[in-house]
Symmetry: C2
C-alpha cells in the first residue's frame, strides 16, 4: 500500500513512548508515595520507600558494571528482595533471570552459564544447595550476593561476596535510571522446567509485560488498591506478572516465603487479602488443610488458578470456602495467563453441575491476546467448536515470548506460521472457550482410540480417598497403550485397586479405565505440577508390566 | 548500544500484533454475542448483531472503492450509526472523520475539502443545514449517505444519494476485513474547534486509541459490563474513546440524540446506568433542571467530567445527586482525557472544603500517559510543586496525536522538544496533581500581576444567582488589563453589578475583582465550552469601555 497523507508524520518523543511496566512504578511512587507497596511480616515499604530501594538496586548494579542486555539472576523466595528485583534489575537495563528454587545443582549451573549471568542474588535458605551449583558453574567473575534474614545478621551459610543490603547501600536513589528505548527490549529470562532435555530460556520483552498487566487488570476486573497475597512463585513466569500489575494500580503486595495453608488463611483475614493466585496443588492444599474447617471470611476473595486443569471437585471445594475462582491458562512462553475462563452472566441460572463444567474450562483469549485457535495436528485446520474434537492450541499476540535464548531451532519450531504452538491439546466450545484435554505427550492411544488422561484423572479425583491422580500411557501388546493410574491418597484413607476399578467402571467408558493402578507419593515439579514424564518413563521401563 | 544476545530475535506474527481497538470488538462479539451492545430507544443490537452491522459497513465502503488511508466523514448525533462508524470505517482501512454538528456551513465545507473526504454520512436532522456546506464544497464525487429516522421512511430532507440502511445492505458481513498492519496507522481525524483561524485536523492512530481504552479501564476502575450512557458527543475526541472502551469490557452503550436532563435522569433509573460523562455545562444543566429535585437513585453512578474546570459548587451539587464525579483533563490533541483527578483514600478524613478543593484539581498523569510537566513559559524549567507558581502544561505519551493533518508548522510547534505543548496554564501540587488556572490566552495581566480568570470565575459561580460566568481581559489605560466578567443568571434570579462587586470583594484580592460586569446569555461551542474568544474580541473592541 502506498503512503497516504496520514503517513506523513514522524514519530517523536512527544507522541511515542516505549511500553514498559517500569512506568507503573514511577507513576505510583509519585501519586501514592505513602501507601503500602510491600508487606512481609514486620517489614513494610511504602511505594516511595520501595521505589527508592529499586532505584538503589539499579544504581548499585550499574556501579558494579552491569550494562544493558546483561543478565542478573536471582534464586529466591517471594520476599521483598524478589519484588525489588522485578523493577531494580530492568531499571539498570539488565535482564531479570528468576531461577526456579527447586532445581538441582547441575541445572542451576547450566542456567547461570547459558544465560551468561553477571550477578547472582541468592536467598540464604537456598545458599547451602547453591554452593555446589556455583562450583560446577566455575565462573570466578560472577558477583554473588546473599539475601540474608534481616533479623539475623550472622549467617554461616552465606556464599556471596556481600549481602543484599550492603550491596543496595553501594547505590544511590539519586542516580539516574533509564526507561527502555525500545519496548521490544528484553525484560526477563525464564527457563522452562522442561520435561526432557536442557531447560529452554524464554525471553520476555517490556511491551509484553506492560500489556500483560493492562490485560490482567481489564479481564480480572482488578480495582485500584487490591491487597494481593503473593503465593505464586515469582520465579514462575515472573509470578504471572502480578508485581508489575500491582504497581499499575497501587496495590499492596503481601510476601510469603512458603505455601502454608494456615498462614494463608490467617493472612487473608488479618490483611483483608482481596486477590491471590495459586496452582491447583495450592487449592488442594488449602482444601485439605485442617484450618479450612474454621475458615470464615466476610470479604470477597478473588483467586486466580492456573497450571494443570484443576479437578471440578477441587474447584467446587474452594468456592465453598468463599473464594471466587477464575481459571486461566498459559505457559512460560506466554508470560503466564493468556486465556481466561471469564464468567458470562448468561450462565448464572444454569444448575450447579452445568456451571461447574463451564467454570472448569480454561477459557477464551484474554483482551491482550490476539488470537487462540485449536487446530487438527495433521491438517492444521481449525477443529469445529463442538466441545469434542481434540486439536493443538495455538496462540498469538503481544504476550508471546521473543523466543528461546540462543536456540533458533526451537524458537522457529514453536513460533511457526505466525502462531505459538503450545503442545497442549484441547477442544473448542462455543463463544471461543477452550477446554484443555491434555499435553500432546499425555494423550493415550489405545486400540486406535485417543484417550485423554485428564478426563480419567478428573474421575479419579472424585473418589473420596484420592488426593492426587496422574494417568499415563502404559505400553500394551494388544492395545498399543492402556491407561495407567498413579494415586496419592488422603491421609488416613485407603482404597484397593479393585475398588478404584469399580469406581471407574461407573464413570468411564470401558476402554478408558486404567488397566493398572499404583499407590504412592507422586513426583512434583517446583511449581507443584506432577512430573508426568517420570511416571511415563517408569511406565515405559517395563518395570510395571 | 551494541546488540546483545537478547536482540537476536525477529518479530513475527506470533509474538507481535499491532495494537488496535478493533480487536476489542472481534473478541467481545465472539465471547458475548448475545449481550446488548447498543441501545437506542426501541432499537437494540447485541454484540453479534452490532459486529455484523460494522462488518457490513466496512464491506460496503470497500465495495464503494474506499481504500486504506481514505477519509470517511460523519456528521451525526450519538445514534447507533455513529457508534458503528467508529468500528466499521476503520475496519475498511479508512480514517474516521467525525464532524462537529454545530459548525457553520463554511467550516464543514472546509473540513470536507481539507480532509479529502470520499464519503460523507449525514444525520437527517442535520441535512438541511448541511446542504449549503455541500454546495460550497462542490465535490460531485463525494458519496453522501443519509442517516434516516428508521421509524419514518419518507424524508424530504434527505440530501444523499442513498440512505444508511440501503448502503449497509450493499455490503456483506461475510467479506473479509483487515486489522491494521501498523499500529501507528491513522484511525481518526478530528478538527479542533479552534479559537481563531481555520480548524486544525488532529490525527489519531490505532495504538493510541487502544492504550486510551486500556488506560481508561485501569484508572476509571471500569468493571466488566458497565451500562454506559453516551452523553459526550462522539464528534468530540471520538467521545473520549468510550465506544472502543466499552467494546473491550463488553459494556452496553446507551445512545441519546440530545442532552436532555429529564431524559438523562429517567434513563439512569430505567437502565441502571453505571457510567456516563459530560462537560461541566452538562453537570450544570442536570443540577439546575427541575427534575433534579425528584431524582433518587439507589445504585452507584460514576460521572467523568472534562472540558473547562468545573466550579467547586457545581461539583458538590452533582455529588449530592449521588454521582461520584471524576474530573479529567485533556485536549483533542490528547485523544481526550490524559490526566485524571484520581482520589487518594488518604484524603478521606479531610473536611468537606479540603476534599472539594482536592477534587477540583484536574489531576495526575493517567497510566497510559508517559509524563506531565508544568514549565515556566520563559525558561522552560519545571515550576515548583507549590500549588502557586503558574506554568504551561506539557504532556507526552502514546495518546498524543500523530500531528495536524497537512500542517507541518503547527505540528512542529505543538510537538517540540519531545513534549506536547497544551497552551493551558496550571500550577503543580504535591504527588503530581495539576490544577488548571487558565488558557495561555486567558491569563489577565493587570499592573504586572498575573490574574487567573478561572479563579475569578470560581468565585462568581458561588454566587447564588449566577448560572455561568466567564472572565476575560479588558484593556485598561492605567493597569494594562483588568478583569471583565460576563454572567448568565439562573432563571428567575437577578443581581446588580454592585452586589456582584461586593460579593467579589469578600472573596478575592482587590486587584482581581472584575472592573466590569456584563449580564446576558454566553456564547458556547458545540461541546458546551464558553466561547471566550468572542468575549475577548468584544472586550478588545472597545465597545464595553
Amino acid at each position: 500500500m502506498s503512503a497516504n497523507k496520514f503517513d506523513a508524520f514522524a514519530i517523536s518523543d512527544a507522541n511515542y513512548d516505549p511500553l514498559t511496566p517500569l512506568s507503573f512504578l514511577r507513576r505510583t511512587a509519585l501519586m501514592f508515595p505513602d501507601r503500602r507497596a510491600v508487606v512481609y511480616g514486620e517489614r513494610q515499604y511504602s511505594w516511595q520507600a520501595f521505589y527508592d530501594r529499586c532505584k538503589k538496586l539499579a544504581s548499585a548494579l550499574s556501579r558494579a558494571g552491569i550494562q544493558k542486555g546483561d543478565t542478573v539472576a536471582i534464586l529466591a523466595a517471594n520476599t521483598p528482595e524478589m519484588v525489588e528485583a522485578h523493577f531494580g534489575i530492568p531499571m539498570s537495563g539488565a535482564v531479570l533471570n528468576t531461577v526456579n528454587t527447586r532445581l538441582d545443582d547441575e541445572t542451576i549451573a547450566y542456567i547461570l552459564g547459558h544465560g551468561e549471568a553477571k550477578v547472582f542474588i541468592v536467598d540464604y535458605e537456598l545458599a547451602p544447595q547453591t554452593k555446589r551449583a556455583l562450583e560446577l558453574h566455575g565462573d570466578k567473575d560472577l558477583l554473588v550476593i546473599d539475601i540474608l534474614d534481616l533479623k539475623n545478621t550472622s549467617h554461616p551459610s552465606a556464599i556471596g561476596s556481600q549481602d543484599y543490603e550492603s550491596f543496595l547501600s553501594t547505590g544511590s536513589e539519586d542516580d539516574e535510571w533509564a526507561m527502555p528505548t525500545n519496548e521490544w527490549d528484553a525484560i526477563g529470562l525464564s527457563y522452562t522446567s522442561g520435561t526432557s532435555g536442557r531447560p529452554k530460556g524464554v525471553v520476555y520483552h517490556h511491551r509484553g509485560s506492560y500489556l500483560m498487566s493492562m490485560g490482567t487488570i481489564t479481564d480480572w476486573d482488578l480495582p485500584r488498591h487490591p491487597n494481593y497475597l503473593y503465593t505464586v512463585p515469582m520465579f514462575h513466569c515472573n509470578g504471572w506478572g502480578h508485581a508489575w500489575t500491582m504497581a499499575a494500580i497501587a496495590g499492596t503486595i503481601f510476601c510469603t516465603r512458603a505455601i502454608d495453608p494456615e498462614e494463608i488463611f490467617s493472612t487473608i483475614l488479618e490483611h483483608e487479602i482481596s486477590h491471590f493466585g495459586g496452582a491447583p496443588i495450592v487449592l488442594s492444599m488449602l482444601l485439605n488443610s485442617p484450618a479450612a474447617k474454621d475458615f470464615v471470611c466476610n470479604h470477597k476473595i478473588e483467586l486466580m488458578t492456573a497450571g494443570a486443569p484443576p479437578p471440578a471437585a477441587v474447584l467446587q471445594g474452594v468456592e465453598k470456602l468463599g473464594f471466587n475462582v477464575t481459571q486461566v491458562y498459559g505457559l512460560t512462553e506466554t508470560y503466564g495467563h493468556t486465556v481466561m475462563s471469564t464468567w458470562n452472566s448468561d450462565w448464572d441460572n444454569l444448575d450447579a453441575e452445568a456451571r461447574a463444567k463451564l467454570k472448569a474450562r480454561q477459557g477464551a483469549a484474554m483482551v491482550m491476546t490476539a488470537g487462540m485457535r485449536i487446530v487438527d495436528m495433521e491438517s492444521g485446520i481449525d477443529v469445529p467448536a463442538d466441545g469434542e474434537t481434540i486439536g493443538e492450541i495455538l496462540i498469538r499476540g503481544n504476550t508471546i515470548m521473543k523466543g528461546y535464548l540462543k536456540d533458533q531451532d526451537n524458537t522457529a519450531k514453536s513460533l511457526k506460521d505466525g502462531w505459538f504452538h503450545t503442545g497442549d491439546l484441547a477442544v473448542m466450545h462455543a463463544q471461543g472457550y477452550a477446554e484443555i484435554k491434555d499435553r500432546l505427550k499425555d494423550i493415550i492411544i489405545s486400540g486406535g482410540e485417543n484417550i485423554s488422561s485428564v478426563e480419567i484423572e478428573g474421575v479419579l479425583h472424585k473418589h473420596p480417598a484420592v488426593s492426587l491422580a496422574a494417568v499415563v500411557a502404559l505400553p500394551d501388546e494388544k492395545w498399543g497403550e492402556v491407561p495407567c493410574a498413579f494415586l496419592e491418597l488422603l491421609e488416613g484413607k485407603s482404597v484397593s485397586e479393585i475398588e478404584i476399578d469399580t469406581f471407574c467402571r461407573s464413570h468411564l467408558a470401558g476402554f478408558k479405565r486404567p488397566k493398572k493402578v499404583i499407590f504412592g507419593e507422586l513426583p512434583k515439579t517446583a511449581t507443584g505440577k506432577i512430573q508426568k514424564y517420570e511416571l511415563r518413563a517408569l511406565a515405559r521401563s517395563g518395570k510395571l508390566n
